[in-house]
Chain length 409, copies 2
């Protein structure tokens, strides 16, 4: 892996995006419930005025505002009650000067009425009269037709991930078949003669397969569909067969493992046999994450990735490349990062983007970010990391107290 | 709803927690994949040393460190190659002085060896010799047995929500049946004669049912199981029957709707008929969210909530009471809040906790929080809110530029 061939993370991301430039993302309409977490594939506009009629925002009496001009606490005005508006029904009457009508919160304003006096300022008077002790301006206690959202207004932009609030907005606008990007289909393959399933006690020289499980969880959380997983012996023929099979059904095939040079070389050779034009990134200027290989097969429209064997590195590379690729392609904004004060000095690697897993510690005035990466800190890192921050390629290390922006996992 | 009976949010939360104090949360072991997003029901400790054997962290040659003491770039030391360690296998040899053994990254150190020289500093010499041009200290390029996590160490604390990193840690420790709290079962009932399903164009006086969909999405995102939903006419007998049914299968029954005083009174009356001791909170000192009713039925161990009819208010109350209740009961920390500079002046309500939905705007040095709540801003609020911040009960309003902490939805 010659240094000259190493890409920066941004270069690698640009190359991945360029590979997919000619591959239209799959989009389709899905029910509101199935759209949770997916990004909108297009701008969504309202198709009608919301609300579709003038509504009262209070319990009270709909009036012609000018009839109430003289009303005060001590000298009310007297209006004739013309009727009662029922919830969910056409008001079904037209108010003229001197008339009012009972209307509940959310009820439709009768024609002629242009304001509502709250029930607290009214008192029945005689058989069909009402004394009103407050004057109201036109429009008072009323939401006008289309005031919330006018027909044709932009409701939600392309790329917005559907969460609870977006769900409410779409329901309000009657968008029950939501245009979303379908998740990319991902295969996660882990290789290594030393791997045993997590449920098994490792024998001498063996370790549990961590990467499959951590990467699957990370990918799903970020909106990928995990279509295939496999744990393989170190066997080029086996890996080749598995890559060919996965390329048929998946958009991205990620191979993690291969911590030794021989295994990395084998993964690269196999991707080059299976994919054309094949491997285009031979290592990343990223710490940790250098031993990353990226390739593409144009015919089957499949991206291939050889991820580092170290679980934290593999997760970081998947996050920095593929989760960001997905957000870039779909126009989804990055999630807000948390500013925090570094709790310890950290080193940077000259010429490389350095990523540091951290644990956030809440204080009264803000957060402290405690770096938790170390030589042997696999479990500690995995168990303790809330997120990570990065130090740019050509920056020095950072002293304790520096402001860093923590991206949550 | 007398002012004297109104609870602060904290009082209401304490009362809800007190109601559930005698109800053990349901916990159980689920497969790693099914544990995503759920909180751990107990501390998880490692059951063995990790790694279970001393491993090399590089490709190279395992050695007795003292044999390399004299090695330099110009004058290497010469050792006899005693064998080759295979990945995933017992090293199967014991090194003695003057010997070394090839070992891949992650491979097991042979007995007798205490360090590894990287392959870059080695060169074959003769038939079975190796020239090593670097001296290593004992433990160099080695992860010792139990160095990552010693047997019995705390791996993850009770209350931690299982995400990708936790998944990796649990897989590493062999915890494939994860002890988690089972989600609380929730019923979401929406009432109102004016409601039509979102897929339907509202007739005169009608509006679409927003609350069911927004609350279901919010609840699921926060780890609740939505066991039952229904949209009901304004009919006390209907509501009563539905509440009785839901109380059998659910832990929490949330009734949203009832924007008029008559409907609110009806909801309260029905909860008091169905539940014993019944309603204990008659309104919240919260804006928006005042018309909130809370009750409990001890026999069926069910909490009842009458939520405001306004979707944003209903979501806010559910978040501030029930999502926080769940995190408090399970020991789950609140998610980190985002500090932001207010983009506009906001008002507070004397004597009430005021919550303001905001949109986050990213800048070079931090975030600005743009308040988006207003009289008619239902759709705008739902479509635009990234989260919210709160102003304490007795605080004044806040001027633009103030620091606020935004909790994401």
């Amino acid at each position: 892996m010659e240094l000259l061939k190493v890409d920066s993370v941004e270069q690698a991301l640009d190359k991945l995006a360029a590979c997919m430039a000619g591959w239209p993302l799959e989009a389709g309409r899905v029910p509101l419930e199935a759209a949770q977490g997916l990004p909108l594939a297009q701008d969504v506009h309202t198709e009608e005025d919301i609300p579709g009629f003038a509504r009262s925002t209070v319990d009270g009496y709909a009036v012609l505002a000018k009839d109430t001009a003289a009303a005060t606490d001590s000298i009310p005005v007297f209006l004739k009650v013309a009727g009662k508006v029922e919830m969910g029904r056409l008001a079904g009457m037209t108010l003229t000067a001197g008339q009012c009508a009972a209307v509940p919160t959310g009820g439709m304003l009768p024609a002629g009425a242009d304001a509502v006096v709250m029930v607290e300022y009214t008192e029945p008077f005689g058989a069909s009269g009402m004394a009103l002790s407050q004057s109201v301006a036109p429009g008072e206690n009323v939401v006008q037709r289309g005031e919330d959202a006018a027909k044709g207004a932009l409701l939600l932009p392309r790329g917005r991930r559907i969460g609870p609030a977006e769900t409410g907005a779409l329901a309000a606008a009657g968008v029950v078949r939501v245009p979303v990007y379908k998740p990319l289909r991902l295969a996660v393959l882990s290789t290594g003669d030393e791997l045993v399933p997590p449920g098994q006690v490792p024998g001498p020289g063996q370790v549990r397969d961590i990467n499959t499980h951590a990467l699957v969880a990370l990918a799903r959380k970020n909106g990928f569909e995990v279509a295939h997983t496999a744990v393989l012996r170190d066997d080029e023929a086996l890996l080749e067969a598995e890559l060919r099979r996965a390329a048929h059904t998946c958009d991205i095939v990620a191979v993690s493992g291969g911590s030794s040079q021989g295994e990395k070389d084998a993964t690269r050779a196999v991707i080059d046999r299976v994919a054309s034009p094949g491997v285009f990134t031979h290592g990343l200027a990223l710490k940790p994450g250098k031993p990353t290989i990226l390739g593409v097969d144009d015919a089957s429209r499949t991206l291939f990735a050889g991820l580092p064997g170290h679980p934290v590195s593999a997760m970081m590379v998947f996050e920095l490349l593929f989760c960001r690729l997905w957000r870039r392609l779909t126009g989804t904004p990055e999630a807000p990062a948390i500013p925090a004060a570094l709790a310890a000095n950290v080193a940077a690697s000259p010429g490389k983007l350095t990523s540091w897993p951290v644990r956030l510690e809440a204080g009264d005035t803000g957060y402290r970010a405690r770096p938790i990466y170390g030589k042997s800190g696999l479990i500690t890192t995995l168990a303790g990391a809330d997120g990570y921050f990065t130090i740019p390629r050509n920056a020095e290390g950072l002293p304790a107290g520096s402001l860093v922006w923590v991206q949550l996992f």
